[in-house]
Each structure stands twice: as structure tokens, then as C-alpha cells.
Symmetry: C2
């Protein structure tokens, strides 16, 4: 991983450390495994037109009201936030429900990090549910990458770091780095055994917090790999499937 | 590690995350393995009167000039800083040289973190060179603990996190926690095998940086355990041996 001709790889372990990372011209992967970026992968894979991430419940209601065929969603303390229609669970968005619709999703940590990124080449979202699609995309793009853990209120967390380590472990041959966060995340990923992620994540602060709301099945789903092989890419404030962006970009040439 | 009757344990992975930790009334362990807190352990074990940590070279010169029998020390870019007498290496302070003297030491990362801590019960310093003494002290004190990694310019680093994980691993039975930083640091420590620390740390940003200055032997020394079994405790701006503080406290009763 030390061939400096290759694009670079960094991991930002918390939004509070983002100032230490130069994101200009790079691809930034927003990671919020429990559960925003898992839900985004599920909704887009299941045919949502796009997902608009917003920071507050008020903004969610306002944005949803302005868009036809939209769903407003978000939770506070494990319950659907007052004024919104749906929650943060990826299982709430099967294609029978979400197909063709715009999901306006309020998430605290993921959205905050996303809005903090300035001048990146591209912002995408990643989670175990779309890990292989994300890795293939990053290898294909051949640009330097910052894996950005949304964390929990700026606190380092296990699930986002584990995912970042899993990605870094897969990207070893294609990227270079000299970043201790990458080294530690890869060690963490290898400690997990690299397979039974949910078993490893049961001993984490977020698992314990969300278990108190009875969300164990949700977290087990979020720790599953490749059930939703899409790459959500931020375009004009909305996350859309990368294949759609590529099709649109190619279309005028045809 | 989940018995909440026991004192709590947290790890602060970077000074930039310190605001997330409540240090009031707790014992804070400042960790700067390469090399400030290693040098502090060596100097105090070798009989230094005390070590005064200061932030800048100018402050080091000024403080040194005001104290009889003092040594001013500090490096910039691997060399003794202009105006100071000695470097940051623990091997520079054998008892034949440092005994009875006051070491005024300028270190960027460790001192900065130390000065950021407000209202802690006690501040001590830790490194592999005094790991068992530090662990025994923490168990004996029976108060909540924050292990504070000085890191490198706020960036997460391997050596300080590895040390914090080694301490957390040893303290498991005596403290409770629900902190993902503690979990990850323990995993990191176990990944290292828990013995040949220098071999593990050769793949780290700081090792690579200091190797360029030819400091490999120094780092190998810093990765050795228990060569200097002291607990440096901050008292009135200076680090002194915990045994001396205890003796002084007990003396008036005799």
C-alpha cells in the first residue's frame, strides 16, 4: 500500500477530525452504518428516485412538502420523529413502497458530516449493504479517497470504523497510504474475522443504545454485506444511483 | 468490564476529541510514547528532581534560566532545538547526568494536551517504560480514568492508542466502560500480540517519520516495558514521582 503513484487513502474517524483531512478533489465516502447510509443504499437499490439528506426535522418537513411523490423520514430516540411519516430502518423501504419516490431523510450524524465536506470531487455513501459496489466504484474511479466515519455525536465508533477498515482492507492493492487511522481500522477489521460483523458489533456503544429500542433485527440487516449493490452519489443535494449519473453523462454523446 | 459500581475508563484518541470526555474529578493519563512521556519516565526514574513540561522553546529557555540546576531540552525535526541543551531521547538522561536536576522539557503534542485538561483530580504520564507502575497506580487509586493520547498534531496515532489499549486490557477487571475507543484500542493491542511492540509499531506514521532522523534505537527503547517503574504526577506545573508526593503527604503525620 506504499506505491505513491497510486491514489491515496485516508480514514477520518470522526467529523471532529475532518479538519486534518484534505478532501479537495477527492472522493469522500460518508459512512453511517447504524443506520443512515444503510437505509440510503436500500432505498436507492429499491428504486427510489433519490434520497435527500437533511439535518433537521423542520427541514425534512419543508423539503418533503415542496416535492411531489416524496416520503419524509427520520427518527429521534428510536421513534419516528413527530411530523415525519417514516423511520430510519432500511427494511421500511421495499421497492413496492419506495420505487419512483423521493426519500427526504433526516439523520443527525451522517448529514452533518456530508454538509461539512467542501470541494470534494465526489461524495458517495457507503455501508455493508453496498460494500462491494462501493469498493468497485472506488477502484474504477482511480482518485484519492477519504473514508469519512459519521460516528455518534463526534465520538469514535466501532461500526463505522469497522466498515472503513473492511473497505481499506479490500483496497490495499489499488491505493497507497501512510495513515495510522487506516492501519488501525484494518487491524480492527481483521480482529472481527471479516465475516460475522453483527456478532463483532454486539459489543459496541451504538448496538447497546439501539438495542434498548428493540432494533436488533435492523442492525443485523445493516451488518449484512451486498444486499443492495448500488453506489449513491451526491448530485445537487440529492443522492442518486451512480449508474443513473453515468447514463445521463453518456447520453448526450449518443 | 460492565460493572458500573467500578470506576469508569475512557480513551481520548486525540486532543481534538477531548471535549467529548468529562475529565472533572478523574485521573487523566497523558500518553506520548514517541517520546515525551517515555523520556519523562526515564528522567524521573533516574532521579530527576522533577520534569517541567513547557509548550515552546522560548518558554523552555526562560523557565530553565529561572531554576538552579536545570536542564533545558527539546527537539524540532529530530534535532536539539536552537537555544536548548539536550534532546527528547530517554537515553540522554542516565542518573549520572539527571539525578537531582530539574528537566525543563518542551514537547509539542504532550504538553499541549496536558495544558488542555481542566479540573482533573490528578494528571499523570504513561508510556510502555512505566506501564506496570501506571496500571498499579490506577487500580490502587480506584477513581475514574481518562487515557489521553497526545497523538501527532491531533492525528490519531498507533503508538499512543496501542499503549492505551495495553493499559485498558490490563485494567479490565477493575474498571467499567461503554466506550468504543476502549474496545477498539483493546482489539488493536490484541492484534499486536501484546509483546513485541516495536515490531508492530514499525508500520506506523510516527515510526517512519522518526526513522528518517535515525531514531530507530530510541523508539525501540520507548517500546520496551517497565524499564522505568515510576508514576510521574503533575504537581504545581511539574511532574514528580508519585512516591515522593505520597511521602510528603504522609510526613506531617509522623
Amino acid at each position: 500500500m506504499n506505491d505513491t503513484n497510486k491514489p491515496g487513502l485516508e480514514i477520518c474517524l470522526s467529523p471532529a477530525l475532518l479538519h486534518l483531512h484534505d478532501t479537495v478533489g477527492k472522493i469522500v465516502v460518508i459512512i453511517d452504518v447504524f443506520r443512515a447510509t444503510s437505509t440510503i443504499a436500500a432505498a436507492i437499490d429499491n428504486g427510489a428516485e433519490c434520497v435527500i439528506p437533511v439535518a433537521t426535522v423542520a427541514e425534512c418537513i419543508k423539503t418533503g412538502a415542496a416535492i411531489k411523490n416524496s416520503i419524509t423520514a427520520g427518527e429521534r430516540d428510536g421513534k419516528i420523529a413527530p411530523g415525519l411519516q417514516h423511520g430510519n430502518s432500511p427494511s421500511e423501504y421495499p421497492s413496492s413502497f419506495v420505487s419512483g419516490k423521493t426519500l427526504v431523510l433526516t439523520t443527525t450524524n451522517g448529514t452533518r458530516l456530508l454538509h461539512m465536506i467542501k470541494n470534494a470531487d465526489t461524495i458517495i455513501t457507503g455501508a455493508f449493504l453496498n460494500i462491494s459496489a462501493v469498493c468497485e466504484y472506488l477502484i474504477q474511479q482511480n482518485k484519492s479517497v477519504v473514508l469519512g466515519c459519521a460516528s455518534w455525536k463526534d465520538k469514535f465508533n466501532m461500526e463505522d470504523t469497522l466498515f472503513a477498515g473492511a473497505v481499506a482492507d479490500r483496497l490495499q492493492d489499488h491505493f497507497h497510504h501512510n495513515d495510522d487511522s487506516v492501519r488501525a481500522a484494518i487491524h480492527l477489521h481483521r480482529s472481527s474475522g471479516g465475516k460475522d460483523y453483527i456478532n463483532f458489533l454486539r459489543d459496541s456503544a451504538h448496538y447497546k443504545r439501539l438495542s434498548a429500542y428493540g432494533l436488533e433485527a435492523d442492525m443485523e440487516y445493516c451488518a449484512s454485506t451486498d444486499l443492495h449493490p448500488v453506489v449513491p452519489v451526491l448530485k445537487d443535494g440529492a443522492l442518486v444511483s451512480s449508474t443513473r449519473i453515468m447514463t445521463e453523462a453518456v447520453m448526450p454523446l449518443l
